[in-house]
Structure formats: C-alpha cells, structure tokens
Subunit: 198 residues, 2 copies
C-alpha cells in the first residue's frame, strides 16, 4: 500500500488503522521536507486526507504527531544490521544515522522535539517510551549477541556504549561546537575498540 | 567580596562591574535554588539590589541571564584538575560534573536552557561561545598535556573524547532512559581507556 501523500478525501470511509498509518506517513514526509517550522495539523490533514478532527482526537500536540512521523520514517533507514561483525555493524548504523540527522530537515526537527521535551513532560515520556528506549534495546541486543561471539568483553554494559556512540552524536546535534561527520563517528568507534591510551 | 544575595539598594551608586558581578552571582544562586521555573528578572533584581531596568539593559532574555549565572556558579565546582594523571583527572572532573547536574536544580535548569536553545539561535550561540566552547577547550588542553606525558595516543582527537564523556552525560540528562550515576561515568572512562573489546 503506497498511498503516501495522496489525499484520499471523498473516497469513502477507510479502516481506522489504515487512516492512522497514512496520517503518520504523511507526518513523516512533511517533517522531512519542511522541518518543525512548516509542520502543522492542517498540512498533515490535507496530505493524508484525514480530517483535522481525527488528528486532534489521536494526537495531543503537533509534537507528538511529528514524533510518530519521525519514528515511522527513520525506522527502515536506521535498521540495525547484523553481519556478525559488531564493529562493522556499529559503523554502518552510525553512518546511516548521521546521514539522516545531518542531511535532512529531520536533524533540526528532532533537535527541536528533544528541546521541547525538556519543558513538556508528556512529550519527553512519549519520546523515551516510543523511540529512544526501543532503539536502545536494539543496539543493546546487538552488543549482547557480539558478547556471545567473543567480540566484546563479557563485563561490558552496552547501555554505556550507546551513550558514547549515539549520545555523542546527539550532543553534537544539539550543541554544535564541532561538526557531525562520518569521520567523527568512525573516531567514536575506534576510540572504544582501540582505546584512547598509548 | 562576598555580598551574594544581600540587597544593597540604597547604599549609593556602585561601579557597573561590581553591579554586574553581583547580578550574575544572584542569578546563579536563584537558578540553583529554584530552577528555571522560579527564575525571574524580578527576583534577581531584588536579590542583587540592581534595578530591573539595568538587568533588561544587559541581558536580552531571562535565559541569557540564567546562563551567565549558571556559568559563574559552576566554574569553581567544575575546575579541571591537573594531577599529572589524565585518567584520574577525567574521573574527578566527571564526578563533580555529575554531582552538579544530578543533585541540584542546576541539572533540570541547564537541560531546559539547552532545550530552549534549539529554537532560540541567540541563546544557542551564547551557550556555545560563552560556555561549552571554552569548557571543551579546557578538557582538550588537559588531554594534549596528557599526550605529551605519553598517557594518551598521539593521534587521538580530544574533541571526540569530550563528546564520549561529557556529551554522554548530557545525553542521559536530556533523555533519561538510564540513570546518571558515578558508576556510569566511571564506566565511560573505563570503556575509553581499556577498550570495549575482549
């Protein structure tokens, strides 16, 4: 079913699940094209063919709707590879991630949502529950499998590594003292695998 | 000169530098006691004995004033130790940092300011120029000295390490999926010095 961005107004009642999926897809497209500055309930309604009333019923704020659109959109792009080589898998995933947040309006948009979440407890809870927590779990599971293969030390806490890879990238996204490049993420992985000592 | 928090209204005209310093000290105290929720120009004026007019003249927003108060307040707490052992110095500095952002209203306050900076370009520029950039420089210089002593590999980019230590902490502060503890920062340092491989 690829009906993204094609208004279907007037084609009769669709099942709620289908409407919901199309609204989320439309929200993701709009967010990636225009960022939060151009993101409105109106435009999502018009793109998806759903009524604004429906949108208001399902999403408490445009932040929550934008988050759902973002998640839907990045999910396939940020799939966690599993080639059997954890170092290569981490690099590949981080390259895809940095590409998304550097080269599309999604980066500024997610920065703005994280920013807004600092004074909006519901948005923060939604972010943790629906996005960052499940994504952390995927990375942690990949590292646990790598431990089984003897590629990571057995006493390693994968959660700390997550903050030293993706967390380091979010830090540069939010506070851009230094650039967020592929060279940067390669250095992050190298620092952890080779150590920073002499 | 310890006149922090003691209104000096009515004691005659003070030099601008002194007024400015006392306003910033009062702002830092208020921020640490009440966080951004209780932070107002009014209260800073009353604590410092300066007029609200003066405050509006010097600071474009309460965010900018709160930032200056934060920087002033954390500067002595977050001094970078130099014992000649970079591993110990990093741990000591990170422990002080985590203590400040976990155990005082300064943590939520700085999270809120970073959040607000995502939609306030002036606040973001002020944050980078007046706080994060000079603080990164201190850490980078400490690591360069450690390279000279043979404690870090010579091709290491200290900027990447900064994002993997303090950046990782800010990540947990802003998106608290996992707790920000002393054990966490010790693990960050260990991961980098010992590596995460088997």
């Amino acid at each position: 079913m690829h009906t993204i961005g094609r208004p279907r107004r007037g084609r009769g009642r669709r099942p709620a699940d289908e409407v919901r999926r199309e609204v989320i897809e439309a929200a993701g497209e709009l967010l990636f094209e225009e960022g939060m500055a151009g993101f409105t309930f109106d435009k999502v309604a018009s793109r998806s063919g759903a009524s604004k009333m429906t949108l208001y019923k399902w999403w408490p704020s445009k932040g929550a709707l934008a988050l759902d659109g973002y998640f839907k959109r990045v999910e396939p792009v940020l799939a966690f590879p599993d080639t059997g080589d954890i170092g290569a898998d981490l690099r590949a995933q981080l390259h895809a991630f940095v590409h998304v947040i550097s080269d599309s309006p999604a980066g500024p948009a997610i920065a703005e949502l994280i920013g807004q979440a600092q004074t909006d407890p519901e948005l923060k809870a939604a972010y943790l529950r629906r996005y960052s927590s499940p994504r952390r779990a995927l990375a942690a599971e990949a590292m646990e499998r790598a431990k089984q293969r003897g590629q990571l030390r057995v006493d390693l806490d994968p959660e700390t590594v997550i903050d030293q890879l993706w967390g380091a990238c979010y830090h540069r996204l939010l506070l851009p003292d230094q650039p967020l490049t592929e060279g940067f993420v390669d250095a992050l992985v190298t620092n952890l695998f080779d150590g920073i000592g002499p």
